[in-house]
């Protein structure tokens, strides 16, 4: 699984290049996230624009990534596709992660934690 990193205004964006985060790639996803966020502090925004499918393993991997960067950094999410939005709602994880509609709203001075 490929993750693309970029830094904008001090915020680290990590874009998932794959269309799925599921049982077959969740370990790789966690390993890559660990490498990319090692020693990072501040805001880390995971861009899920390409991701049309997340299963419970993928969900667990995203939670693991959040725990991995805490308390130095906070993991936020941006550009969720409809199916992924529904999954976060269903599991109430939409109350756990700050979720932004798009990158420009993610960059607004006061990032709202939902």
């Amino acid at each position: 699984m490929q993750l693309e990193c970029s830094e904008v205004e001090g915020v680290l964006f990590i874009k998932v290049a794959a269309d799925r985060i599921d049982a077959s790639c969740q370990t790789h996803f966690k390993d890559e996230m660990r490498k990319l966020t090692d020693g990072i502090s501040g805001r880390v925004v995971l861009d899920l624009e390409n991701v049309v499918f997340v299963d419970s393993s993928g969900l667990g991997a995203i939670v693991a990534a959040m725990k991995m960067v805490a308390p130095r950094a906070k993991l936020e999410l941006v550009c969720l596709t409809p199916a992924v939005t529904k999954l976060f709602g269903l599991t109430r994880l939409d109350n756990v992660f700050p979720i932004h509609a798009d990158r420009s709203s993610a960059l607004k001075p006061v990032a709202k934690a939902s």
Partner: protein, 166 residues
């Protein structure tokens, strides 16, 4: 490696789709794609297709991880049967039975907890139970049979196709 083989059959208002594959993660992915292609052709709404794919992924991953303990060579049989307005599914395997011979309760994992205590697992059965209308499990003579259904409205099951490999 066993590729998915499938034999969709249409007869009158009902249609049936059988697929047999191994418990290899790539094969499970291929099976999910095959079901997704079939339900697309039947005109299942996109949000329901996404939910179905998620439910099937959870069910099949459970079979691979728990019933077959991660072995990639276990046999899985999936049947989808449509009778207006319900899609019925059965998933059969020859692996280890469910603990206690019953389905997990599927309670919602707690998310109102401190970050270090956030659950990284336990979402699977909760997701399944939230998205299916009815679900049952039995183990009979070494065969695990999981059945569930989803109310989906009227579909067009006009396809008659036959395909098999290996």
């Amino acid at each position: 490696m066993c590729l998915p083989s499938y034999i969709p059959v249409a007869s009158g208002a009902a249609c049936r789709f059988d697929i047999r594959f191994s418990s290899d993660p790539d094969m499970i992915r291929a099976a999910l794609k095959a079901v997704s292609a079939e339900t697309l052709e039947c005109g299942l709404a996109p949000d329901r297709r996404a939910q179905l794919e998620l439910v099937l992924a959870e069910v099949l991953n459970n079979v691979a991880e728990h019933a077959y303990r991660g072995r990639p060579d276990g046999c899985i049989e999936l049947r989808m049967e449509y009778g207006d307005p319900v899609l019925h599914f059965s998933v059969e395997d020859l692996g280890v039975p469910m603990p206690g011979g019953t389905l997990p309760a599927g309670n919602a994992p707690p998310t109102s907890v401190d970050t270090p205590d956030m659950p990284e697992g336990g979402f699977g059965w909760f997701i399944i139970r939230q998205l299916v209308d009815d679900i049952s499990y039995q183990c009979h003579e070494g065969r695990n049979v999981l059945r569930f259904c989803m109310t989906v409205g009227t579909l067009s099951c006009a396809t008659v196709r036959r395909s098999s490999c290996l």
